[in-house]
């Protein structure tokens, strides 16, 4: 060796990357108030009604650092605080990238922002306690009340992990909004709805249930991706059906929107 002093290898701080599909600002539809929303790329499920098939594949996202997404959110910080809102991480399925999602939520939370996690719960086991500690609200998409329907809806998923995750959230006191996409002929059977409603009613931290009427606005995305839209011929639910299903939740004392 020459006379030069050895240089200790300096560990560069790990730069956490995630596959980010897009970001947006929305009002009243991704949690309470006006929110900055980051959509992550990649989802293990293949819901028949999915309106964002363009988020299914991790490769469709751009590699972004946590820092970038935190900086972006801080631009909206003042606005969302004055307007009464916060930040939401959505997808795709954010828990497919638990480290990135966890760090994002933690950093936002440290800034004092109201944080929301929009998830199917299918990968709920991957959310560690630190991630949930940094989450003020979980928007939990409970897609069905029975394992068979869950399979029919998602193609690739199982109901049990979502129920397990919901229970865990309730036990640890994390507030939840339960979401239920109402598709005529798929998720509208009274006993199917009743099961979901029973589950929701049994969870102490459920603040509200959002019954989301199925729509076909994502149809052109399937065409762009060269995929068939499985529900191309399914009509949105009519008002009567919607009222009935909302009623099923409401009669269990749940707040329904």
């Amino acid at each position: 060796m020459t006379g030069r002093p050895p240089v200790a290898p300096v560990a560069a701080p790990p730069v956490l990357h995630g596959a980010v599909h897009s970001w947006d600002t929305s009002v009243g539809v991704d949690g309470p108030g006006t929110r900055f929303v980051v959509f992550l790329a990649g989802c293990p499920l293949r819901c028949r009604y999915c309106h964002s098939p363009d988020t299914w594949y991790g490769r469709s996202g751009r590699r972004r650092t946590v820092d970038e997404m935190v900086t972006l959110a801080t631009r909206y910080r003042r606005f969302v605080e004055v307007a009464g809102g916060g930040v939401t991480v959505s997808g795709g399925e954010p828990l497919l990238q638990p480290a990135f999602t966890g760090e994002l939520l933690r950093r936002w939370h440290d800034l004092g922002l109201h944080t929301a996690l929009d998830t199917s719960g299918f990968l709920g086991d991957r959310a560690d306690e630190a991630l949930l500690d940094a989450t003020d609200l979980v928007l939990l998409d409970v897609k069905a009340g029975s394992p068979a329907t869950y399979r029919r809806v998602t193609g690739t998923g199982r109901l049990a992990p979502t129920l397990r995750f919901a229970r865990r959230l309730a036990d640890r006191g994390t507030p939840m909004w339960i979401r239920y996409v109402l598709v005529p002929g798929l998720t509208d059977a009274p006993d199917e709805v009743a099961r979901v409603a029973d589950v929701a009613a049994g969870l102490a931290t459920v603040e509200r249930v959002e019954v989301l009427p199925f729509h076909r606005l994502g149809a052109h995305k399937y065409a762009q991706l060269g995929l068939a839209f499985p529900l191309a011929d399914t009509a949105p639910p009519d008002p009567e059906l919607l009222a009935r299903v909302r009623g099923q939740f409401a009669e269990r004392g749940l707040t329904v929107t």
């Binding site: 947006d24 539809v29 006006t34 606005f79 009464g84």
Partner: protein, 748 residues
């Protein structure tokens, strides 16, 4: 008027102040207004009487829409006293007075321009009156003629090529707000006395141009006030004395406003800030047992009915340009007082309530001066009204008050001024996108090839170089600023001489502060074009004569409207640079130069007259309105685009910066209560971020159905579901039906 009211002290119960000694309505309002911090539950619906009056007019509207105008008096040039009294329903009306002797019967005002009058008459199947023609060609010159006598060739060329457009050189300039409240508070006699004293004070001054003009104007103002008294007397009212009741206060101030509209066919005939003033009187009436809530609302409803039927005779082209038959009877509501108390009263609510009692309407143009500090009940009511009617607009009180004090009002759409203390010389706008094309083409017009701006070396090369373009643009903007202000100086000099607003100016302080209000169009197109040149590669396609006629853009470039500083900084630079160039010009009567970023709906026409632009926009394609991002290029939601617009500095554009936003009810939340809270939140956030103006469209089912039938009217309609946006008119009919059912059955 019953005799006994002459014995009543019109100022009984009012708190004293300097307003007693000098004409100062702002001081009166500050001392006598009482904030209302509650909610809307006290409001009442329309009475049978109100509906009967309104129904009479409503029955006439379809015919008016079909024919373009309901009726015209083509033979009587309008003055304050030209027409006999007219009524809608004499037995039932609470507030009286029409522009002519019958409702919806339009008047002619040839002093602004005979050509406009005659073109309009012919367009609506009427023959111009030969006597009127003779008078206004042989004996009396019009503003229009006088302007064209004095325009230099450079202005004519810029006007022909549409790089400067919408100039008020063929009709009344408008955007002057008389302080109509003065007539109610003081009575006409006191105002005449004040004017006489002002004029007498000029007797000691040497008779220079300025002094002669001031003396003549004051003499004209005094004459106009006399005619106002005479007109009111023809309806049986003595308004030489102050108003003694709420009904009189509204009637007196309406007479004053009405007289202004009989004398001027102004582009915008705005009302000012009257609700808080009227409230003082209505509150006193209620305390005296003279009136109850139903009665108070009835008076406001009747007043608003009158404001809704203000009409001017204009050409079909003019109406097309502005998508309708606009009069811009703008009333400014709300805002905060300089003392920190909200200027929200029960009457502020009552004005908004007319949108329910009489149904939604574009006029009067109800404008809420928004502050996050406004009382919650009022904020929610405003948001609710927006949600239900899309009929109100918002301006940032936290920007207006520091600049123009707490008795400011909006003229037209976004032009703030102190009521009765400031006036403006309205100046339409210059086309910044077209000017950029002139820069590239060495001053030649991209559509005709004509040399419009002075010849400069065209920007060469196959690919545009940013620095070279910028240097050329800078020179073009110098020329544009000079030519533009030149045009405005001519227009306003001649308007003062040939179509002076005698009555409106009688209701201003003397001397008055004057603004020269310029404007720009095509901001987002110019900015995105510059961004494309800077961050992408823009190749020029030239025709045989070397004229750049098209551009091919390669590579990605940031666009204005996504809260991306790279593009937004170009927008800020452009606004500040052009404003600075304008301010360097000498203005008529040393008016303070201001600028707006506003197009109203003329963005379509500006687009028609502008060739292909380097941002990829095709020739003829409409511009985005006002300061809006270009249609479809703001891809990160309403808030991101609002934040981009909010970066434009109000200090450089003191005449206002306009943003139009369209949301569906679903895009604001799931329930009505949530939507109301969320919309109020968005307004708080936008105001807090420094945004100046927001036109909020919350679209209902009928609108979406209309958009399906007439997609060309809704280029920007965006439908949002969670984190997902679609351009409504680009959806297939089936998808559109989908949205309609989802949006309107999918909630509540």
């Amino acid at each position: 008027m019953s005799g006994n009211q002459r014995t009543v002290d019109p100022w009984r119960g009012f708190r004293d102040g300097p307003w007693r000694e000098t004409v100062d309505v702002a001081d009166f309002v500050r001392r006598n207004h009482e904030p209302y911090t509650g909610d809307a539950t006290f409001l009442t619906g329309p009475t049978a009487r109100t509906l009967a009056v309104w129904d009479r007019l409503r029955a006439m509207f379809p015919e008016e829409r079909r024919r373009g105008v309901y009726d015209v008096d083509a033979a009587t040039p309008s003055t304050i006293t030209s027409h006999a009294p007219g009524y809608v329903d004499r037995e039932r009306e609470l507030i009286v007075g029409l522009q002519t002797d019958a409702p919806l019967r339009r008047a002619i005002m040839p002093a602004g321009g005979l050509r406009m009058v005659e073109t309009a008459l012919r367009a609506y199947g009427r023959e111009p009156d030969p006597r009127v023609h003779e008078i206004f060609t042989r004996y009396r010159r019009t503003h229009n003629d006088a302007v064209f006598d004095a325009y230099p060739e450079s202005v004519l060329a810029a006007r022909r090529s549409h790089v400067i457009t919408g100039l008020p050189d063929a009709y009344g300039r408008g955007r002057i707000i008389g302080d109509y409240r003065r007539v109610a508070l003081y009575g006409v006699d006191r105002l005449v006395e004040e004017r006489r004293a002002l004029k007498a004070a000029l007797d000691d001054r040497r008779s220079t141009d300025d002094v002669i003009r001031d003396r003549e104007e004051l003499a004209e103002q005094i004459r106009a006030l006399g005619e106002l008294t005479e007109m009111a007397a023809s309806y049986g009212f003595d308004i030489s004395r102050p108003a003694a009741t709420g009904q009189q206060a509204i009637q007196w101030l309406y007479f004053a406003y009405l007289a202004a509209t009989k004398e001027q066919n102004g582009a915008a005939m705005s009302l000012g800030r009257t609700a808080g003033f009227v409230d003082v009187y209505l509150r006193r009436d209620i305390a005296e047992g003279r009136l109850d809530e139903t009665g108070a609302q009835e008076l406001v409803d009747d007043f608003v009915i009158k404001l809704r039927i203000i009409r001017f005779l204009r050409t079909p082209e003019y109406d097309q340009l502005f998508s309708g038959d606009p009069t811009w009877v703008t009333e400014s509501l709300g805002g905060m007082g300089a003392d920190g108390r909200p200027l929200v009263t029960r009457t502020t609510f009552r004005y908004l309530q007319t949108l329910y009692n009489l149904g939604p309407a574009p006029e009067p143009n109800l404008t809420v001066l928004w502050s996050p500090r406004l009382p919650d009940g009022f904020k929610r009511f405003c948001a609710q009204v927006s949600l239900d009617t899309s009929a109100i607009q918002y301006e940032n009180d936290e920007l207006i008050r520091p600049a123009y004090d707490d008795d400011a009002a909006i003229a037209c759409c976004v032009s703030a001024m102190r009521v009765g203390r400031d006036m403006q010389f309205f100046g339409a706008r210059a086309n910044l996108a077209k000017a950029l094309l002139y820069a590239v083409n060495g001053g030649r017009d991209e559509l005709t090839g004509a040399q419009v701006a002075p010849p400069t070396p065209p920007v060469g090369g196959e690919t545009l170089d940013y620095d070279e373009v910028l240097a050329a643009y800078d020179r073009t903007l110098d020329w544009l600023a000079q030519t533009y202000v030149d045009a405005l100086n001519v227009i306003h000099h001649q308007h003062d001489r040939y179509a002076y607003e005698r009555l409106e100016m009688a209701l201003h302080d003397h001397p008055v502060r004057r603004f020269m209000a310029t404007g720009v169009a095509g901001l987002s197109v110019a900015v995105d074009s510059l961004s494309a040149i800077r961050y992408g590669r823009v190749k020029v396609l030239r025709d045989d004569s070397g004229l750049a006629v098209d551009y091919a853009v390669e590579g990605e470039f940031p666009t204005y409207g996504n809260d991306d500083d790279r593009a937004d900084e170009i927008a800020v630079w452009l606004v500040e640079t052009f404003a600075a160039k304008l301010r360097r010009q000498r203005t008529y009567r040393d008016a303070e130069l201001t600028m707006s970023v506003l197009t109203i709906t003329s963005n379509v026409v500006y687009g028609t007259h502008t060739g292909n632009t380097p941002d990829g926009r095709r020739a003829g394609e409409p511009f985005a309105p006002g300061a809006n991002p270009m249609n479809g290029r703001d891809t990160h939601g309403l808030v991101a685009s609002a934040l981009s617009v909010a970066k434009l500095p109000y200090d450089a554009a003191r005449d206002g910066i306009s943003l139009t936003g369209t949301v569906t009810p679903d895009g604001l939340g799931h329930t009505r209560a949530e939507r109301i809270a969320n919309l109020a939140g968005v307004l708080d956030g936008y105001t807090d971020a420094g945004g100046f103006h927001l036109n909020v469209n919350v679209l209902d089912r009928a609108t979406l159905l209309d958009a399906m039938a007439h997609p060309e009217r809704y280029p920007q309609l965006t439908v949002r579901v969670s984190g997902y946006a679609v351009n409504f008119v680009r959806l297939t009919p089936e998808q559109q039906r989908d949205v309609v059912s989802r949006t309107f059955h999918g909630s509540l």
